[in-house]
């Protein structure tokens, strides 16, 4: 049974990942534990004395957890669709090497994206399991949260792939993280509700995929009301992913077929 050409480039990426999977899993596990201890349990005790961001009387830790789950998915998606893509085109040139096989640029794009989504899914599942251990959510909420987080990461991955595949070196990538990913992480309703933001910039948060991801995550994990219907947020994330792919795929072709 032959693997379709569009998926044949997944296996080598998994094989490369296998070399470092232990370290990767440990850090994927420690990251939520440390964040939840410091921000949720530590900082949270102060917050809980003075405010109730959920408006539902749940702890800051519980409110923060699903938000962080979505934010972590964004960061994983962004990380996996930036430096490794640069390496494929330029540093290790693995994409260029693969172009000499029956695979083509579209196959490389699809396989790369599939692997990114698998990675986001994996990181999100570990995160969600930690949330269950902290008593933030039930197992069902964790499973659904893993799915919405994966969708969030997937929505970030294609536009960032499009961005990265235009770059000649990685200075653009440090700008992307400094001026894109980090501000989104801080101001998309993960740590405090966007109702705290000045009225003028609030629509900006509605336009970012992360805020929708955070909303969905809290909805499935905590049963919180969403600002927009859930399907609208899901649709919005899907649109980001599709539009990103529409830009990224021709860019892959242009770069690999010369």
């Amino acid at each position: 049974m032959a693997i379709p050409t569009a998926l044949r480039f997944v296996e080598p990426q998994a094989l490369a990942y296998r070399r470092t999977w232990r370290a990767s899993v440990v850090s994927n596990f420690l990251n939520p534990v440390l964040y939840l201890l410091a921000m949720g349990a530590g900082l949270g005790t102060l917050v809980d004395e003075s405010a109730d961001p959920s408006g539902m009387g749940i702890s800051y830790l519980a409110w923060l957890g699903p938000g962080l789950l979505a934010a972590q998915a964004m960061q994983t998606g962004a990380g996996e669709s930036s430096f490794p893509i640069m390496a494929g085109f330029k540093w290790r040139k693995s994409y260029v090497a693969v172009m000499n096989t029956p695979l083509d640029a579209t196959d490389i794009f699809v396989s790369t994206y599939v692997w990114i989504v698998v990675r986001v899914l994996q990181v999100s599942a570990i995160y969600a399991a930690v949330l269950v251990a902290f008593g933030v959510t039930e197992p069902l909420g964790a499973v659904l949260g893993t799915l919405t987080a994966t969708l969030t990461g997937a929505a970030f991955a294609t536009p960032i792939m499009a961005f990265t595949s235009r770059l000649e070196d990685d200075t653009g990538l440090s700008h992307l993280f400094r001026f894109g990913v980090v501000p989104l992480f801080l101001f998309s309703g993960t740590f405090f509700p966007i109702s705290q933001l000045p009225e003028l910039v609030r629509p900006l948060a509605y336009a970012t995929p992360l805020w929708h991801g955070v909303e969905l995550s809290r909805s499935v994990a905590l049963g919180m009301e969403t600002t927009f219907p859930w399907w609208a947020s899901v649709g919005f994330l899907v649109i980001w992913a599709v539009v990103g792919a529409i830009f990224a795929l021709p860019q892959f072709r242009r770069r690999l077929v010369v």
Partner: protein, 308 residues
């Protein structure tokens, strides 16, 4: 004429307004070793990448296995083995993993790949290194691994873009031996090189490329016969610049070439020519008598030396 595997007519590649390959014609037949000899920037790699169906042709016709690379690239690549100019190996994976992964791109089942990897490791003399990471290999080993990788799918046609550039003489000879064995097994090889001796040793037929064009075509012996004399006498004089000194040698041999540091006399017999030089009262600082080679063909065709 044997069965043509690659046929190019007016094959042209442009990058923007720059013409890298300028309307070249050639036919490569099954079972032969066909060479592209030329200096840096001649258009060798651009031609290889068009044959390899990774670079779309700009103009002209190209058929590989009778197929059109622009339309049937996937099918052509499935039947090719390509050794690119840059190795582009997976440095962090082992030698065996590199071969296995590459086999998977060709949809080979693991049961087929496994024995073939063992065989290719033997062929490339890398059996001891099978579990080493690629980053720990020497340049020559990496090159041999790149060649082994290209052979994992048992290709009918193997394209080797400068297989030995950057290797020491011993490593080059090991590679030549491997390539010769490949030919013995019936593979068709296309080789680019800027080493004259490599082209002379390996190629049944070759084209000399320069500035995107083909300057001459034939077997090494034919080309030498057509564009040079049997022997060459190289004369070094005790002067800083040899320019303008060729007049001193008028009447000796059929042709002279002046390089910065020596004068080349194209002659039937180098011994006799040296006597004629002495008879003219010229006292060379040094002389070399040798048989003519592809270097001389290239010099004659382009007026330049092809430095390694």
């Amino acid at each position: 004429m044997g069965e043509p595997l690659v046929e190019a007519r007016n094959l042209t590649k442009r990058f923007g307004t720059f013409t890298a390959v300028d309307s070249v014609d050639f036919t490569i037949e099954r079972g032969e070793v066909f060479g592209f000899l030329g200096p840096n920037g001649a258009g060798k790699s651009s031609t290889m990448r068009m044959i390899g169906a990774t670079s779309p042709i700009t103009e002209g016709q190209l058929k590989v296995f009778g197929l059109d690379p622009n339309a049937d690239g996937r099918e052509i690549r499935a039947r090719l083995g390509v050794v690119p100019q840059e190795d582009m190996l997976d440095e962090e994976l082992t030698v065996t993993d590199n071969l296995t992964i590459y086999g998977r791109y060709f949809s080979l089942p693991r049961s087929v790949i496994k024995p073939r990897v063992d065989e290719l490791l033997e062929f490339a003399q890398l059996t001891e290194k099978r579990d080493a990471k690629v980053e720990a290999l020497s340049g020559g080993m990496k090159r041999r691994l790149t060649i082994a990788r290209a052979l994992i799918s048992n290709p009918e046609l193997v394209i080797l873009d400068e297989p030995t550039t950057g290797l020491d003489p011993q490593a080059r000879h090991v590679l030549w031996d491997r390539l010769y064995r490949l030919k013995q097994r019936g593979a068709t090889l296309i080789i680019t090189t800027h080493y004259m001796d490599e082209a002379e040793q390996l190629c049944d037929r070759l084209v000399v490329m320069d500035g995107g064009r083909i300057a001459a075509e034939g077997s090494p012996a034919e080309l030498i016969d057509r564009h040079a004399t049997p022997e060459v006498l190289e004369v070094r004089l005790d002067v800083d610049d040899h320019a303008g000194r060729e007049a001193d040698f008028a009447g000796i041999g059929s042709r002279t070439e002046v390089l910065a540091d020596r004068i080349l006399l194209y002659v039937e017999h180098a011994d006799e020519a040296l006597q004629e030089v002495r008879a003219k009262g010229i006292i060379p600082a040094a002389t070399v008598k040798r048989r003519a080679g592809l270097e001389d063909v290239f010099l004659h065709l382009t007026g330049r030396t092809l430095v390694d």
